[in-house]
Amino acid sequence: MGIVDFHSVSFSYDGRKAALDNLGISIEPGAFLAVLGGNGSGKSTFAKHINALLVPDRGTVEVLGRPTADPACTYFIRSNAGMVFQNPDDQIVAGKVEDEVAFGPENLGLPPDELRRRVTEALGKVGLAGFEQSQTHELSGGQKQRVAVAGVLAMEPQILILDEASAMLDPQGREGLMALCRTLHDGGFTIVMVTHFMDQAAACDRVAVLHEGSLALDGTPEEVLTDGAALEHLELDSPFAVQLCRKLQAQGVPVETCLGEGELIAQLQALLGADAEPVRCSKPAEPSAIQTAVPASAPEPLLTFQNVSFSYEPSPSKAEAATDDAAGDGWGNRPDEPWALRDVSFSLNQGEFLAIAGHTGSGKSTLMQLAGGLLQPAAGTVRLQGRDLADKRAAAEARHSVGMVFQYPERQLFAATVADDVAFGPRNLGLSEDEVDRRVQEALERVHLSYRDLKDKSPFALSGGQQRRVAVAGVLAMEPQTLILDEPTAGLDPRSHDRLLALIEDLHRTQGLTVVMVSHNMDDIGALADRVLVLNRGRIFASGDPLAVFSDAAGLEAIGLGIPRTYRVALALGLEADFDRIPAIGDVARAVAARHRQGL
């Protein structure tokens, strides 16, 4: 008998469509289980059953030998199977960290001495010792999720359930949370991790894949995640290393399919022999000052930033003096950073695809609002087509020629129908209804949505990926020449992610838009950008050609950023000279195959 047992469990939210369909699974004590599945596969419903938030319509769920359907066991089960949810902002109850962590055990009715001990211990375990008095809303996303984990640990459970708990975090926060789970698991916890990140699943001990409410695959990561055909059928991708292995095998390179990137690199290094140089990751990038200065002879750029600084504080220099020595708590972003942007200069050319990289709090969103004329710099000038945006009329016009897609843009949807929502911008421009209609139709087509099918639907009835497309259409309906996107793929599942990325590429390549994409996903940047600007704590850290910028892997890692995975492999194998742009996964496979043939 396992610590959690599902016996032919069926459950439906509406009495018609089954969310869980005759599901049977047993989780052994001390397991580190990843639960995968596409949208609507029932993986969240599964997680809520373990915590007795939902009880089965048919069948039984037993946690630590007790049935979840028995109301007398509810609090025993909930305190022993703690749950962390997706959105860090939704699950925090208290304003102060210690009150938040104490909330669960307080409900269990423990005496104050014991509460204090548990709060201290739980915060220590998640690496937030000393944060007791902090305000929860001032923490970063990653820190908030750690507080949420601490709130669960304080109930001293045996099982920890994470329901896509890292989906809304940046890579740094995601890795931190994964490492924390690993440590807790080594300390004896049973961990159930619902996720849609394949690489996270590869790091677990057991993988279960749900499909339409039933168990489709179950086994070790090696068994489940290397079965490309089966995963494809279940609307899932393979982990990166498996994809690359398969491409290599297709090129005739004799590699064994493996899950880990490190393992694959070791295989390839052995295969390519002494020719290939070992890891050579730290070619320094060009000094950024030279790269970023606007060359006098170049054609007039579309957008220029000249020594721009911006601060949300009234007297930033004083605040800076006060906080400068408190730098670097290992989590990257500090909410009290006095300068949101400091002395930033760069230019954007017509038709270019510029990526702005940096983690949360590095000043990316501020930069974006300055470019759109929504904020005014404290120092320096922002020019759009030669006109200073400090001028109010120029700023107002900038809002028409620069389209801004903010983070989670679907959260701005408001109208009763999709058509009305997309029409909001054009109507604000005072256009005739005919023109508005034409633009709405065109905008929806541009994001590959059907005007006829969707125009009368409520935007709130669409799927997450579709909602985001509608929001992008709402910006495109303003017919901007430049599109600025802030983390356009954040929080999407892998399929919607790929589709949206393809859409952005299409807007740039085929539809001719100048694009600025703010992102912390280096793979996305590597795939699309002509040029990269890396921000760190409000300053430009590096800028230039993606190949040059990403060659400084060590420097980027020091500020908590990675590099595209394909390029990481190429660098490790000494293949970087073979590429004139960041390679796609097929390019790497071909280059390795060519080297391999040479070596034979």
Binding site: K48, L53, R78, S79, G95, L115, P314, R399, Q412, F414
Partner: protein
């Protein structure tokens, strides 16, 4: 956001006042308000002013912070004082511009009311400067608990207040983001949102409400998952307990009240 001079802001420090039970501070503030009204002449009011002035150093609160905390409401003091200055007549006239006269009684009354209002605001700010909002809600819950006998949901009332305080900064941020996004789509919200038509107004309010409901859904699940089931059997990390310090505070307030009444009768 900056949050510079808000009435109701907490001043982080470790002082005898900070360490008082929040219930004592809540009731003590009420007592101070009563005492201020008990003072009937300048002598008594001056004495109360002196006592309140001593409380700020006792709470390790700099004078500037104390004054800044009531600055946003100082216009109330100014208007009330001016009203009294011009409309209360009697005694020797001090100035006379025909239709506008200031009499001795008016001057006295303006000073008296102005001082009284200042002291009332300072007493209120003393509570919020020395007590975190969560403690105030808990004190309120405990003081209202006896009303539960007549069906008043004291715990729920206080808990909802606590949640509101927790979500306030978050909704402020979200509202700002929504506003920025709609301005970027050409909404003319720069002047007044109420003059820019129903569509622009809806473009701000609907997303905010959608967000509130989204948060509420998960929040209730997250609370359930952590065994929340109302106040029954629930303990607190920092339980409220009256101590010697609270008894001294009560005694001091009683003495202050007695002295004020005595001085008022002189």
């Amino acid at each position: 956001m900056g949050g510079k001079a808000l009435f109701g802001r907490y001043w982080k420090a470790d002082s005898p006042l900070h360490r008082l039970d929040p219930r004592t501070k809540l009731l003590g503030t009420l007592a101070l308000v009563v005492i201020v009204f008990l003072a009937q002449n300048f002598l008594a009011l001056g004495f109360v002013a002196l006592a309140i002035a001593c409380l700020f150093p006792l709470g390790r609160i700099p004078l500037s912070q104390a004054l800044r905390s009531i600055a946003p409401l100082s216009f109330i003091i100014a208007i009330t004082a001016l009203f009294n200055l011009f409309f209360v007549q009697g005694g020797a006239p001090l100035a006379d511009w025909g239709w506008l006269r200031i009499s001795e009684a008016g001057m006295r009354s303006a000073l008296f009311i102005g001082l009284r209002l200042t002291l009332l605001l300072l007493s209120g700010s003393l509570l919020t400067l020395t007590t975190p909002s969560l403690d105030i809600t808990e004190a309120l819950e405990r003081l209202l608990a006896p009303l539960g006998r007549w069906g008043f949901p004291a715990h729920e009332f206080a808990f909802v207040m606590g949640l509101a305080l927790r979500f306030l900064p978050q909704f402020t941020d979200e509202f700002r983001d929504i506003r920025t996004a709609q301005v970027a789509r050409g909404a003319n919200l720069a002047t007044s949102p109420f003059r820019s038509g129903p569509a622009a107004l809806a473009s701000l309010i609907v997303p905010l409400f959608a967000s509130v409901f989204r948060h509420a859904d998960t929040l209730s699940a997250a609370m359930d998952a952590r065994c929340y089931h109302g106040s029954q059997g629930r303990t607190r990390l920092r339980p409220l307990a009256f101590g010697a310090r609270d008894r001294w505070a009560a005694l001091a307030l009683a003495a202050l009240a007695a002295a004020t009444v005595a001085l008022s009768m002189l």
